[in-house]
């Protein structure tokens, strides 16, 4: 039983770590703000969730589990809202997505 939990936890952690790196590559390599916010907004929340679930499988006592659940809930609530507010503010300030203007240039 222990070994199963250890393996499942390892899978969650590795998957989460992989998603975080993917988000990092996305924020660096994507061409404009909106694609970048897409990359991080998606992978950040999912990656954080996976890593926290992986940690939850290893907790020594209940209090730690409760704290991890609080962190997970906060991440699930706050991250999308922050991303949403950011994208909305950017759109309102007149920052336009790249595709509209560069389609014909093949960018």
């Amino acid at each position: 039983m222990d070994i199963v939990i250890a393996v499942v936890s390892a899978i969650f952690l590795l998957l989460g770590g992989f998603l975080c790196v993917t988000g990092g590559v996305g924020i660096l390599r994507f061409p404009d703000f909106y694609t970048r916010i897409h990359a991080t907004g998606v992978t950040d929340t999912l990656g954080a969730g996976l890593i926290l679930i992986g940690l939850m499988l290893q907790v020594p006592d209940v209090l730690v589990l409760v704290k991890l659940v609080i962190i997970l809930l906060m991440t699930l609530f706050i991250n999308p809202v922050a991303t949403h507010a950011l994208a909305q503010a950017a759109l309102k300030s007149g920052l336009s997505p790249l595709l509209q203007s560069k389609n014909h240039k093949g960018g």
Binding site: F77, I78, V81, H84, A85, Q88
Partner: protein
């Protein structure tokens, strides 16, 4: 190296290696950010980088086992300092002048000083050595006797509030003074303006973000509750008055950003905040006076109750409460004054243009 070194030569063990690696990586990140800050002219970008710098140094403090320090840096760096800097540059201008005065001379001075300091570090005991002088003086006393003398497991809190209580009293007075000084510098006569006029300026920027308002409304009670948890759990885990005060203030600041400064001022009136600023310091000081009158030394909590341990618990609870009170109200006072000044200036400009 020479035999005067206070340590056994550092051997790199397996379990040690990963912590050492993380330590080196985090410190290198810090240096990268610091250099980027030097190069940048856009103060907004500089402040964003300073925010990252704070996050990184909190991570570093966690890896160095300084959980209480990391906690403080987390609450200060994430909550308050970025906001104060942003308020300031929104009043003083976003771009730095491109000319620097005498960069070559400054570089030479910096280079020489830095080389001397690095030469000085060569004589220092190695990092992590258990035989370094700093580890042998009073620290063993705190670690070994804290449980029997004070009776709380968090040694940082017992040293902060009891062993070095007088020190902390001084720090609280400094914070109080800084708060009063900011108030004196930035005070705006609120009554001068009609409330409706301020409300108009307030609401124009806030009414659109419905989702943000909703989530903030849900979040603020949690933050306040968490601040209280930090305040009263500080004896057993990381936390205490300083951290709790800053977190509490951050919740109020979030409220005033989302719902407007004037609304926040109606919820928490500034005169009460000013009163609480002084009340915290007075509470701290009066615990000292009471212990003095009961026949002990200043801030000697053993005499507060028949049982010395119970006395220590009571004393630490009270002075942490005083610290939390002062820190929270000073932070709120500072933010209210900064933000009020900004609103005032915007109203002036608005009037001039119309």
């Amino acid at each position: 190296m020479d035999s005067l070194r206070f340590c056994n030569p550092k051997t790199i063990k397996e379990d040690n290696a990963i912590e050492l690696l993380i330590d080196i990586v985090l410190l290198s990140f810090l240096v990268c950010i610091a250099f980027a800050i030097v190069r940048m002219k856009d103060l907004f970008a500089v402040i964003m980088l300073a925010g990252m710098y704070g996050l990184l140094s909190a991570s570093f403090f966690v890896t160095m086992d300084a959980v209480d320090v990391a906690f403080t840096e987390a609450s200060v760096g994430a909550g308050i300092s970025t906001l104060l800097m942003l308020t300031t540059i929104s009043m003083t201008g976003r771009y730095e002048n491109t000319t620097r005065h005498r960069p070559m001379l400054a570089l030479v001075v910096v280079f020489v000083t830095g080389s001397l300091l690095i030469y000085g570090t060569l004589d220092m005991p190695y990092f992590g050595s258990a035989q370094a002088p700093i580890q042998l003086h009073v620290a063993p006393h705190y670690i070994n006797n804290s449980m029997s003398e004070i009776g709380i497991p968090n040694i940082v809190t017992s040293a902060l509030a009891s062993y070095r209580g007088f020190d902390t009293f001084g720090e609280v007075v400094v914070i109080f003074t800084a708060g009063v000084a900011v108030w004196a510098l930035l005070m705006v006569n609120v009554q001068r303006r009609k409330n409706t006029e301020i409300d108009d300026a307030n609401n124009s920027t806030h009414e659109q973000h419905f989702i943000v308002r909703f989530v903030a409304k849900m979040l603020i009670p949690f933050i306040l509750l968490f601040a209280l948890y930090v305040q009263f759990h500080g004896d057993y885990g990381p936390g205490g008055g300083f951290q709790a005060g800053v977190i509490f203030a951050a919740a109020i600041i979030l409220y005033s950003m989302v719902f407007g400064l004037n609304t926040a001022r109606r919820v928490i009136s500034q005169p009460i905040v000013q009163l609480l600023t002084a009340a915290g310091v007075l509470l701290y000081g009066s615990v000292g006076i009471v212990s003095l009158l009961s026949g002990g030394n200043f801030l000697d909590y053993n005499v507060l109750s028949a049982d010395p341990i119970a006395g220590q618990h009571l004393g630490i609870l009270l002075i942490e409460l005083g610290v939390g009170c002062t820190v929270a109200s000073v932070m709120i006072l500072i933010y209210f004054n900064f933000s009020g000044r900004k609103n005032d200036r915007e109203l002036e400009e608005h009037k001039e243009t119309t």
